[in-house]
Subunit: 567 residues, 3 copies
């Protein structure tokens, strides 16, 4: 610090540029973090058999999409911007990003996190049945072409810029586009199995964790401040700087953006929660969460230029439309939008943009400004219509083609089994599923052939969880490999244990045990009991017990066989 | 950048103001993100039947509270500040925030995230039994009046400013206030059912997920850097700037704040973990987590002006008092502070503030400074006493009134069932509860009337999970709708499957099955078995089996009926 | 803002310093947040019985490690830096951090979050069997000596600085070091029980939650931008400032860092996912997640000075090596690296550094630069070799000593039971384990002595979950305390309830019930049934039923006793 002297005017400009840069990077990181939000929000809203699939899609959206956006997408925006505005363009601009410089790449990344937000929204709509390769194909096209065309129309100076529109941070360009694309994809791909009954009535398929859904919501809200306020505060407008005076670009409205974003989010939660309460008498947790996001989406396109009462109104409306639009999509359109991405991102985004003329600062600044109002209305309608038409057309084309090729969705068997297993070979929660996790390759499976003199018996044992593998081996060795396993808790002669919560002990008098049931006819029940005893003992109290119960009859479900043959 | 010339002095001031602004926004976002931390921390510490309620309360605290703080709260601070210091004030200042400007709204939001932190602390104390509407009512009053009065007394220049106090970032004003309010609310509202036995002994009611609790803790610690360091680094003090020289406001102590915040957090974890180990011989996970936060709370009011050895000492004490104060509150006061908000935010915050004179830089700067010590002690005691008295009085009044109206807590039935169902109609983890999720509206429920000639029988079947709905329908059609369902794992004639973890396959030789048990007397067991076979088959291996076992006697618990009548 | 005049050159320097400071703080917080990422990633990858242990280790790594790094570690770096470079050093520098100033402490904290990242990596490798005290001992030594020596060799100006090396943000110094330390520790401590069969074949032990693992991954990726871009953008290089001109230090490459970090991460996911798909035909979720991180690790040392095509290549290689190296470590070296920390942080970090000469900007800037290439290769090999040798030696020494003292790992019993119970006395998910959580200290346990005239009976009851404690008491009172408890769902005479998901109702016709099984011989079954009826009734529909079934034989597993004696 000592001895540093300001030499010339260029230094403060450099400093200003540095501050701009650091701010852009900071908010870019916040927006990137929204992927964690989407991942958790979507994971929470799907069945546990589809969670890993959803998580993988989210990671691949970013990983594959961002490369596509770098290699092609960013350039496509520029070209489309020039092409649709009578401006200059060159097809070689498509690869201009490759040879950019430091500042250019920071700008690219700032654009990329917006692009990937649009892309990731779609995965929530098609959850639980879209083929991974279909989704990835669409994501590449979205990142390389579909979204860049939308940006070309708008922020990159294309046709809608010529008409005039107001979409500050992507309420339509990013969220509206993503929501519409999700709805279209879900429509083409069809609903999940058993989502609708033959008479057209609806089955509700709940997700698996509200905790993850709410965590995702709050991460998204955190990142959204980057989205909106970040866009506001590029701090130093180069336009004014060109006149020789370094002016603070966003000073006039950054506070307004921070305020209206906050109020829109808050009112969205109240709108959705209130509407849900009107419908069912309860404050639905997921609607409150979805409503926060709908309020944010609704405000995003107009947050820099509306009154605070307008922010409350837009947020309330964006929230309140959520239950209504969701029901309309579900019951009228019969589209299975799993994570409600259309009501949250689509209709909320389009509606917010259309409300702009009604709540804009200029409309009310000094009495009602008719000229501004009319122009704004025209521009916003054009924005909404053009982006919706393009997005529906492009998305329907891609998924329509994939469907025609039989590549759009997984087979019914795979869907029933869950996409985690069929597409990824994994189980999201390996322990809770009650599966046996020890490798057990060496088991000899035999169908015993000796008659059990005593008829059919149920051998029921309570054993130590960690002896399960041994007992399975023991049973296999005597030719009785069929068994059923249940996680139970029990107490017998073992002493009670102490559990602890926040350092305080409590009695855990039930120990985790595994219950084994084997029904046998061919193998003598006593032999089975003996095998369990031999393989299940550690010699310590708590090894468990085996009981033999009589079974009067047995049926094999598939074959209809009865008696010992069925066992 | 080229050609930009520094024209006049105003530019660097503008730049400085811009930097200040961006920093305030950045830390504001970090503090906002603490809501995700509180949500996860509290969700992890409650029973799974109350998780959605806790999450909803967190979202509503922000959504409703921030609007109340905008409409009224911020203005109340200003008015109370003037009113209690002999300064100027006007009741019209209450709505001054409505017509603020960009900078004013950023400042408001920075204040709002502090206010909402205080508000959300309370929900952890009253978890599991407070009525949603009671909690929301209190939150509105806290955001509009109770907390703003505290700020009015202090940061807004009121009575405590006149006396002199040191609360740098809200160790007392935010956390102490929230912790005391939580304790008071939990006291008025009473403990959860079965928390205390009739003889006054305590039942431990553990939470449902340490993972979420620790995630929440680490999110909070992340946000806390915004809380403390953010408050430190407003970078350019306008006071000095007024003298014509732009001086760096926080340079002298921002590093100290970063350091002491870090050491206080670390020592808090060690203090609480160590004390817990002394008590039970184990390093309790939740105490370590709570201790990190208690260390942070303890340091928050004084982090800018203490020695680093003082930070270690305060952190250790704030952590070590945690188990002791928690036990005192639980066992002596018999207050059921579910998430330990008083020991973590209340006593740690008050204690940290009171320790200020002992560890302050001025006290030790050049020998022991008696005058400073005495003044500081008086100021800190006044701070703690006044805020505690006001918070207890206001909170007790609100919850006392709600209790008198019978609106403070849910009915015992609702509490037993869990607030998720009773207040929100939801199940946080729809799958883990083993509930059937397919809509099943069309089932005909009949009480069969034909005698089962063979006496009472247990029909026990292992079926495919996805055939459960069909089997339920099948059973209902033959008049045997009563059944019990268990998630089990089994292997029969189905081939073993391959599971995968990090791309490595392992044998999954146990398949997920559902076990059905029907005890029948009126309906012939063979008919039940047949119905299961008909409705449960897919024709593929793995369809399962049905067994019939003799039952000697049956009792209906409620009526005491026995025999076939009981079934 | 009004009237502020730029007085002298010092002000813009002050402002520049302030901006630098705020940026360093911002990225420091992001890097700190990576602890939440590690905590979730590791928690997801371990069995549920070891989750709390993993979480506690993460919190203690930070809490204890950061104090050790403050008290000793930072100073050790300085001393080692001077000592190994022929530079000046004084042992008193070890405590120099204690009496630093504001700027020094900010720098220290920036260094500390790197140090703690290296430290926390190790816990993932030794999960599930390392003793808490062994791990904590090693962490203290790592933070105080082992890692500081590595920094002394490199960033602090030591021997490797003299040779010349390129490790921009710690791809080797932080991640490589952590990964190698983890591998060494896992090697010394030995594999988890049952990880390898006697014939050397491998058992896969899956983690417990992919959701937490992916959440952790995305939090880490978020923080990583702070890691890499933060290191890039210290904005104003003091070096150039010394010449009198305030120059923007990182402008030339911050965009490159942002771009190559992004592309490396993306390519890493594709590389690992693609390689896993080649091996198993599936896109493994965990490999995609681990691959994102491996791509980031690979790029970290060289991100500032490589071509973007190089970033894609390095990311792809870092991802693709993951499945291969993991398998090599697991199947050839027989080292049980639970969270794959060596392939993710170790080999990816070392490989990335070694690839530097091949993808560096200077190599390709204007034709192939042989001199640069050779120098760079020598430097990078020296970097990798020296740090690997030191880390392996130091880690092996510490864990070798701990093992020799019998302090390295928990007993086999404790390992089987899980470290949550044995080391911390807690259960991570108290509810899912099916344990009884009500304190039940007063139960009288008796072994009944009266013969049950009817032989051995199974008393089976379906009761309300909230009556379990009462029923246990009731059974204990009649001398039949042994029982087994299962969570089931059932429907009997209770009316169906309504559940809700996103405000839509669905029929919940199965209610949560608890099934109790008691096998009795000494106590008459009718008496048991009566006790359940008396203690389990509320008088409302839904109280449940009790059934008595005949049991033909009973075996006690441990003793081999049969008949009534066994019960």
């Amino acid at each position: 610090m000592n001895g540093i002297v300001l030499q010339s005017g260029v230094d403060i400009a450099t400093l200003a540029e540095g501050v701009n840069l650091l701010w852009v990077l900071t908010v870019t990181f916040l927006i990137f973090f929204m992927h964690a939000g989407f991942a958790m929000l979507e994971a929470g809203q799907v069945r546990s058999k589809n969670v890993a699939n959803q998580l993988t899609k989210n990671m691949l959206t970013w990983s594959i999409g961002v490369i596509a956006f770098f290699l092609v997408g960013a350039g496509v925006s520029t070209v489309v911007g020039g092409l649709t505005s009578g401006g200059s363009y060159a097809l070689s601009d498509i690869v201009a990003t490759w040879s950019s410089d430091s500042g250019g790449w920071v700008s690219w990344l700032f654009g990329a996190v917006f692009a990937m937000t649009a892309a990731t929204i779609v995965s929530g709509a098609v959850a639980g049945r879209a083929k991974l390769r279909a989704y990835v194909t669409y994501t590449i096209l979205l990142a390389a072409v579909i979204y860049p065309v939308v940006v070309g129309f708008t922020w990159a100076g294309g046709i809608l810029s010529v008409i005039g529109f107001h979409d500050f941070a992507g309420g339509v360009i990013v969220h509206g586009m993503g929501g519409v694309a999700g709805l279209t994809a879900a429509w083409i791909i069809g609903p999940r199995l058993d989502r609708y009954n033959e008479d057209g009535s609806v089955n509700v398929i709940p997700g698996h964790s509200l905790t993850f859904a709410v965590l995702g919501t709050l991460i998204l809200a955190f990142g959204w401040y980057g989205f909106n306020v970040g866009t506001a505060a590029s701090v130093f407008s180069s336009g004014e700087a060109a006149e020789g005076v370094l002016a603070l670009g966003a000073f006039d409205y950054v506070g307004r953006v921070a305020l209206t974003t906050t109020l829109g989010m808050a009112a969205g939660a109240i709108g959705a929660g209130g509407m849900a309460m009107l419908k069912t008498g309860k404050v639905d947790t997921l609607y409150v969460a979805n409503g926060m996001l709908a309020g944010l989406v609704g405000i995003t396109s107009i947050t820099d230029d509306i009154l605070w009462v307008g922010a409350l109104a837009v947020g309330l409306i964006a929230g309140a439309q959520l239950p209504i639009v969701f029901e309309f999509v579900e019951k009228r359109l019969k589209i299975d939008d799993v994570c409600a991405v259309f009501p949250v991102h689509g209709s909320a985004g389009l509606l917010g943009a259309l409300l702009y003329p009604f709540v804009a600062v200029p409309t009310w600044a000094s009495g009602f400004d008719v000229a501004f109002f009319t122009d704004a209305l025209v521009g916003q309608v054009a924005l909404v219509v053009l982006i919706t038409v393009w997005t529906v057309a492009a998305t329907a084309a891609v998924f329509g083609l994939l469907r025609a090729m039989g590549e759009a969705r997984v087979s019914p068997d795979h869907e029933r089994e869950g996409l985690d297993v069929s597409e990824h070979g994994v189980d999201t929660y390996p322990e809770f599923g009650g599966r046996d996790t020890a490798a057990d390759g060496g088991i000899i499976r035999t169908d015993g052939g000796r008659p059990n003199d005593g008829g059919i018996k149920l051998v029921m044992a309570y054993i130590r969880p960690d002896k399960l593998s041994d007992v399975k081996r023991g049973l296999a060795e005597i030719g009785a490999p069929s068994l059923t396993v249940t996680n139970v808790s029990g107490r017998g002669s073992q002493p009670a244990k102490k559990g602890q919560w926040r350092g305080e002990e409590y009695t855990v008098d039930l120990h985790q045990k595994v219950k084994i049931e084997c029904v046998v006819a061919d193998v003598p029940a006593e032999e089975v009991a003996q095998a369990i005893r031999d393989s299940g003992t550690t010699g310590e109290p708590g090894d468990g017990k085996v009981f033999i119960l009589p079974v009067e009859e047995a049926h094999q479900i598939r074959t209809g066989k009865t008696g010992p043959e069925a066992v």
